[in-house]
Symmetry: C2
Subunit: 473 residues, 2 copies
């Protein structure tokens, strides 16, 4: 009892809040004890590891609209049923069906070389001869805009910007604009095609794909990525002062949209069953790899968490709902379909967790909750103490698939996965099971399981989040 | 003087030899001081780094018989002249001209997947439909031989043996038999094609090529390698207990032999100019990467060493000869041509250094010298003390390109390059400049430069090596 009392006092002091937080709005000893049980079980549970092994081996790559995408849906239904989830079902989603085809990138002058390349996701292809043109190197879109008029007309533009390695993924956010906006930015100035240095941190020779966004009313030009070491070598060609001439070719093409599905299963709640604690990850992947860290690991993690919670003696108060979203990578149509459907449901989504940043470990617990719920977040954080997490701010964004629900006011708890090495592998052919450390994944399952369980047991209401200020601590 | 005297005494005691090693058979103070100068200059000299950058950027891949091979010869001549070497010349070499073409490896059942693959060097191709067959997994050639009669008839054989990571490269020696002998071993039992787990240590998705050796009178079947993570996934397909069915396709083919060349340059000796200290590396590379660590680094290293020696105030007693060998990878015809020609020369090859094990650092100094020269090897070892090397045995093998000269009795000094990570990159598409640490390369240049210089200055004779016993220490 001592621990609980001192915790209550500490929380009250730390949060700077007072009597509005009575003991009955904090987590019970029983629920905290169950959290300890969950955490210890999770650290020794191989379910998530087995799931990602199964998904990557038996299904493999599963880009939106592909046969792998359809196989993944069947896999998700089968595995959710095997794990004993309730209300296992699909929700139909329409997805784009872009096909990568083959891509070639050759430097013709000054020093001929063939460079491994990938088309950016959604890129148009070229005609069969490809695009051959002199090339211009710029760092980023600002540098492109600063060029003299006509500088890239009929040229190939090479964006050489280098991504920073960060734990929280912020380096990606800063670097990705070139990929998303670069094609239309260059096309607007008359360029015929673009090549970008991969938006990734790997020193290995893996080009990094990912989606672009064409602007309306601007010519759609083909867009490619090359790996960091190849971008380094291409920079050296430019540094020679000689004219760089390149040829790019791609058979990428858009096929008619396909049907896919979100896959959903639940651990039913009890007295607050109509309140949903959603655990989201995405079932689709890019095609060059087999989608182990992106997002097989997240799929396995949320399924492993729900399975562990379902095995507790106490059933959760709120309903734990696992949603494996369709098509995160190519426009989040799975998320948008789900968010629309959620508005029509009689249940309410009160708290969300997304796992879409690799296979762990978790290094920090962040949140985006109504400030009135910060004391319980603090209590949840303390329940993760043996996992040695940092305490993050109350400014978490959740993730792409929960974005719609979060914008509608749903609270977010974010056990932050360590992104330091994530962008060495993400969106490359090297996204395989070999990149997953089973121990790190188990630690991540533990962090999510403790947080999700306690979030489901919180005796108060998860109030809507309207405005979030930086946390007091 | 104190240092020198105590060194002499130590050497005499350690070598267990006595008065036959008078002071006049040991290195002079002047030469040792020059070695210190060389070492310090080498640790700050960027010549080798610039050379490997230039070779990999301006020439890139240079497999035997290719246009890159021819460009590399011109590059070697140009750079040797630029560095001020004497007697810069080529020696014509006939080389095979195998063309890799494209390769495909697909698992059709139980779980379809396309696996990145490379043909083994020298492999025949398949017909345009490829080879489709049920597959049998074995660890290695011994396990293949232990199968019941007919077990692999008309099948595809998957060799799953995993290479050990070692500092001295011994793991490669133990694992490589599957690649060299596997194709004929499987063909002799009626197999239609083979796939091997790469003879490499990388957890990344890079298949590893390298040469095979077909036996006469046995059908030549196509042979492929897949990366370690893909081999892991393929093992899981076999572990399912279901029949694995695969399709393999390759357009590899042999073209008529081509002319290539060894590229040779010298730092002329003085009073012992007719004795050659040879520094060898190979100019050819495999084609998937750009041959940075194999063997651009070695090429750069031996050229950087000779350049530093040429810049000393004192000219070497013996002639330092740099030889960039043609075609190490595909049968060492450059080495064989050179060895034959050396027998007809009026000069004698007395001491050899080969650099063909990556970009450093050097971790050990080994040798293969007549035991009468062990005291001077010890003295050379002590001159490398600030580089913190281990003292290796007198059982070094040199390397593939110096093998013929070593068998004819030439002494070998082997500053052993650290191979711990070498086989993560070797023979893969990932063999790029990004894998080279400039500081490690400079340390390696220092180790070779000190050893080569002192080897050239040794006042005694480098006696022929006939029988080498394990060293006394």
């Amino acid at each position: 009892m001592r621990t609980f009392k001192s915790l209550f006092i500490t929380v009250s002091l730390l949060s700077g809040l007072s009597s509005t937080f009575a003991a009955d709005k904090l987590l019970s000893k029983v629920d905290l004890a169950a959290a300890n049980t969950l955490r210890e079980r999770a650290l020794n549970d191989t379910t998530a590891g087995q799931l990602v092994e199964s998904l990557t081996t038996e299904v493999g790559a599963r880009p939106a609209g592909s046969t792998g995408d359809k196989a993944a849906i069947q896999w998700g239904l089968r595995e959710m049923k095997r794990l004993g989830f309730s209300n296992v079902r699909t929700m139909e989603v329409t997805v784009p069906h872009w096909v990568r085809g083959e891509a070639e990138c050759a430097v013709l002058a000054p020093w001929p070389v063939n460079i491994p390349t990938l088309a950016l996701g959604g890129s148009v292809g070229t005609d069969s001869e490809g695009v051959e043109a002199d090339a211009v190197m710029v760092k980023d879109i600002a540098a492109l805009a600063a060029l003299p008029a006509g500088a890239v007309k009929d040229k190939i533009v090479f964006f050489s910007n280098r991504m920073d390695r960060t734990q929280d993924g912020s380096g990606y956010g800063r670097a990705v604009a070139v990929r998303v906006q670069g094609p239309s930015a260059a096309a607007a100035l008359g360029a015929r095609a673009i090549v970008i240095r991969s938006v990734g941190t790997s020193p290995n020779r893996f080009p990094h794909t990912g989606s672009l966004r064409y602007l309306a009313d601007i010519a759609r030009i083909a867009a490619f990525a090359i790996s960091n070491p190849d971008a380094d070598a291409l920079e050296r060609q430019f540094a020679s002062g000689k004219q760089v001439r390149m040829r790019l070719r791609s058979t990428a093409r858009e096929l008619p949209p396909e049907k896919s599905a979100n896959v959903i299963g639940e651990v039913p709640g009890t007295d607050r069953a109509n309140e949903i604690v959603i655990l989201g990850a995405h079932l689709d992947s890019w095609d060059p790899g087999v989608g182990a860290i992106d997002d097989g690991a997240g799929v396995a993690l949320v399924m492993g968490v729900a399975k562990l919670i379902s095995e507790l003696d106490t059933k959760p108060r709120r309903t734990i709902r696992v949603v494996l979203f369709a098509n995160e990578e190519f426009g989040t149509s799975g998320s948008r379909t789900y968010t629309t459907a959620a508005q029509a449901e009689s249940v309410r989504h009160v708290l969300g967790f997304e796992a879409d940043f690799g296979a762990g470990p978790v290094w920090r617990l962040s949140s985006r909750v109504n400030p009135n719920q910060l004391p319980v977040v603090e209590q949840i954080f303390r329940a993760t103490a043996p996992l040695k997490l940092a305490r993050g701010a109350n400014t978490a964004t959740g993730g792409a698939d929960l974005d719609g629900l979060a914008r509608a006011g749903m609270a977010i708890l974010s056990p932050d996965l360590d992104g330091t090495k994530y962008f060495d592998v993400h969106h490359t052919a090297n996204d395989t099971l070999a990149q997953i450390d089973p121990g790190a994944l188990q630690q991540a399952v533990a962090a999510y399981a403790v947080s999700a369980w306690l979030g489901a047991q919180y005796p108060g209401d998860w109030e809507p989040v309207t405005e979030v200020k930086p946390p007091r601590r």
